[in-house]
């Protein structure tokens, strides 16, 4: 089922179009174009994008069974399944336990889920006859993904990036240059993602006639939150197919990190309506697939230095949307903080705010320190260096897996006596990106000690 925002672009009370008058016509045109090329029955746009995703971006990405990680958490004791690329059969965990699967968006060309969205939007920009795209970037991943899509589709590209982030994510700045994009430093405000968005909007206001503003997450004025969600839904669509093939059932828990919310919504969307025990008989029916987003707790939620708009924010208007924000009593936007630049943002997408408000999605937060441990664990146990953003989700998944494994142990004793088989807990984590971009900042945090 496709949930659509209302006429005004609102999900419940969240969303809307709080944009300068200069942009309103452009937003209407964007909505029309998106309806025509994506939401209608028109096939050619979807075919063209599908081909790019397959042959250029490297989709579908694998759903990988993280055996070592699962074992470390006390689950999946006898799993025989190694990684499945969606083609494996039931991994055959004899006595149940907890199994962690990773949706490998880190293997998308460019190293993050961001390219799913930028290919879609660049294609849309081209159809709309725009010659130039602009984008904001925090971690640099969206900037890199925009530069790639613009290069392959023959569009001029300029990326706005806070000067603080330019220092933190140097490798991505080089990559954007190599890809032929212009990187424009933003030296106002907190010099991070929020200010890069401000600057992009200012550029768009000025060049709206030939320029397409390519937002990198499910944020901004309507129709952007809808557009980005639609282009990221491919993550969840593949995940669902793959987990059904591998395990014959839906997962119990799906976890993703949340900056603006695009990898989370993209992953969650296909599971919103689902019950976890679908396709399995003899179980209590009707329990939903648990969906958990993980925000940046930075130095700790109690310190005020974090990026957790949903866990700790209040409602207000920023960047064209009514959503949850980090702000003071007057309504001035506070500086967010996280060592993961992609989560260092004082707002969040309106649809996610709506889903959290309605209770369907639960939110948690992981501190820098907890995240760093998860970063190390995944690197050493599975040979995968995650993006710092994604490592937030890994942290929660690992803690939750341990908790569930412990609980399962207790239940098992009872189950043995009653000669019942118990079910393992299936956890899917969206590994939204790889951590190559972060190795220098991690080295700095670790003080040169290395892992």
């Amino acid at each position: 089922m496709l949930s659509r925002p209302d006429e005004q672009g609102k999900f419940g009370k969240f969303g809307g179009k709080f944009a300068p008058e200069v942009l309103m016509t452009a937003l209407e045109e964007l909505e029309e174009a998106f309806n025509r090329f994506w939401l209608s029955e028109e096939k050619s746009f979807k075919q063209e994008l599908g081909r790019l995703l397959r042959t250029y971006a490297g989709r579908p990405t694998p759903l990988y069974f993280a055996k070592n990680l699962s074992e470390m958490c006390g689950g999946a004791s006898s799993a025989n399944g190694s990684g499945t690329n969606g083609s494996g059969t039931n991994c055959g965990v004899k006595s149940g336990g907890v199994k962690i699967y990773l949706k490998r968006e880190d293997l998308v060309h460019g190293g993050a889920h961001k390219l799913n969205n930028t290919l879609g939007q660049c294609l849309l920009a081209k159809k709309m006859g725009k010659r130039r795209v602009i984008a904001e970037t925090g971690a640099g991943q969206h900037g890199v993904a925009t530069a790639m899509a613009a290069a392959v589709l023959g569009l001029e590209c300029e990326v706005f990036m806070g000067t603080e982030d330019i220092v933190r994510q140097r490798p991505n700045v080089f990559r954007m240059h190599l890809l032929g994009a212009k990187v424009s430093p933003v030296d106002s405000g907190s010099r991070t993602l929020k200010d890069a968005i401000n600057e992009s909007m200012r550029d768009w206001v000025t060049n709206v006639e030939d320029t397409y503003y390519l937002i990198g997450s499910v944020v901004g004025p309507h129709p952007y939150p809808l557009i980005v969600r639609e282009f990221q839904r491919v993550i969840g669509r593949e995940t669902k197919e793959q987990i059904l093939r591998a395990e014959g059932r839906l997962p119990n828990l799906v976890v993703a990190c949340v900056g603006g919310g695009s990898n989370a919504l993209g992953t969650f969307y296909e599971f919103l309506e689902d019950k976890e025990v679908e396709n399995k008989e003899g179980n209590e029916a009707g329990k939903e697939v648990e969906l958990v987003g993980v925000e940046a707790a930075g130095k700790g939620l109690e310190t005020g230095e974090h990026g957790a708009s949903l866990c700790a924010g209040t409602e207000g208007v920023l960047h064209g949307m009514y959503s949850k924000l980090l702000q003071d009593e007057d309504g001035q936007i506070k500086q967010s903080y996280s060592f993961a630049p992609g989560l260092d943002y004082p707002g969040v997408g309106p649809e996610l705010a709506y889903l959290v408000d309605s209770g369907r999605v639960k939110m948690r937060a992981a501190t820098d320190e907890e995240t760093l441990r998860a970063f190390e664990v995944l690197s050493t146990k599975e040979g995968i260096i995650p993006a710092l953003e994604s490592a937030h989700a890994i942290h929660y998944a690992v803690e939750e897996a341990k908790r569930r494994a412990k609980k399962a142990e207790k239940v098992e004793k009872v189950a043995k006596e009653q000669k019942q088989e118990r079910e393992e807990n299936l956890i899917v984590v969206c590994l939204s990106g790889r951590g190559d971009k972060d190795i220098f900042s991690v080295e700095e945090v670790l003080g040169g000690e290395g892992l």
Partner: protein
């Protein structure tokens, strides 16, 4: 006087309105009062006082920096209304972003405006589609209008919607871009004004039109306010001109001149008054 009455009174005298903008609290709350008085002495008819927001997406670098400095110096909504109330004998307009209105509460914000003698509120990130709640509150306060913006990209359909809701005056955005001084006046102004007047005629309701964004020189004010007697092609014949960044620039320069950031206040105030005077002269069209 409410805003429409003010425009009317000027018109009867053969004048157009000079609307002068400054960011409240830049560089300090006390300075704002003095700066405002200098602007009025020079001939500013309507004073637009900016209530600074942390993320002003419609503003260019001049007003951005003024906003940042003002906020660092402690400007906040309570203080803002205090400062505004202290500036008397002039029609005032508040320019701010929607989140500040929302967090104070729409009702409280508008009643604070009215108490401080603020006759209109301009909210650049509140298009007509989202304006209903604030509009409803403003409708209950006779003396405070919600001022809408119209841009060169505004379609006829949107224009009709905006004019239906508009009161006080319409803020005509002269160009595609953010606030900030420009060298020339955009060629889109004249046709845009004609387009709005035509729609107003159809709608049967005339709201004054004031042109802003990019106006920083007397000759630009002349083009915006000119009745077409001199040059029918380029004269826009608007009802007023709005000048902002150019005033901020004078304050900026004054601050830079002074030692230890204290600035050369007297000279700066004199310059502001003279500059306002040079702009005002161009609005005496009759």
């Amino acid at each position: 006087m409410n805003l429409e009455e003010k425009f009317g009174a000027l018109k009867r005298k053969g004048e157009k309105a000079l609307v002068g903008f400054v960011t409240a609290g830049y560089p300090s709350a006390e300075a704002t009062t003095k700066i405002a008085l200098a602007m009025l002495k020079g001939g500013v008819d309507i004073l637009e006082l900016g209530l600074p927001f942390s993320d002003p997406i419609a503003d260019g670098v001049t007003i951005q920096q003024a906003s940042e400095r003002s906020l660092r110096a402690g400007m906040n909504p309570d203080l803002y209304f205090e400062v505004a109330a202290g500036i008397k004998k002039v029609e005032k307009v508040c320019l701010t972003y929607y989140n500040l209105v929302l967090q104070r509460g729409l009702e409280k914000f508008v009643s604070d405006c009215e108490a401080a003698g603020i006759k209109g509120v301009v909210v650049p990130d509140l298009p007509v589609e989202e304006a209903r709640p604030l509009l409803k509150v403003c409708d209950r306060y006779d003396e405070t209008d919600l001022i809408f913006l119209v841009a060169p990209t505004t379609t006829e359909k949107r224009l009709a919607k905006i004019l239906e809701a508009a009161s006080g005056f319409v803020y005509v955005v002269s160009l595609l871009g953010v606030t900030g001084a420009r060298e020339t006046i955009s060629s889109s102004v004249s046709p845009l004004i004609r387009r709005i007047r035509e729609q107003e005629r159809v709608g049967g309701r005339e709201v004054p039109l004031a042109v802003g964004f990019g106006i920083s020189k007397p000759e630009q004010v002349r083009k915006v306010c000119g009745s077409g007697a001199a040059d029918a092609e380029t004269d826009a014949n608007a009802d007023g001109a709005i000048v902002g960044s150019a005033f901020i620039k004078i304050i900026e320069q004054g601050l830079a001149r002074g030692s230890e950031g204290a600035g050369d206040e007297e000279k700066m105030l004199r310059e502001i008054e003279e500059f306002a005077g040079s702009l005002k002269r161009e609005t005496l069209v009759a």
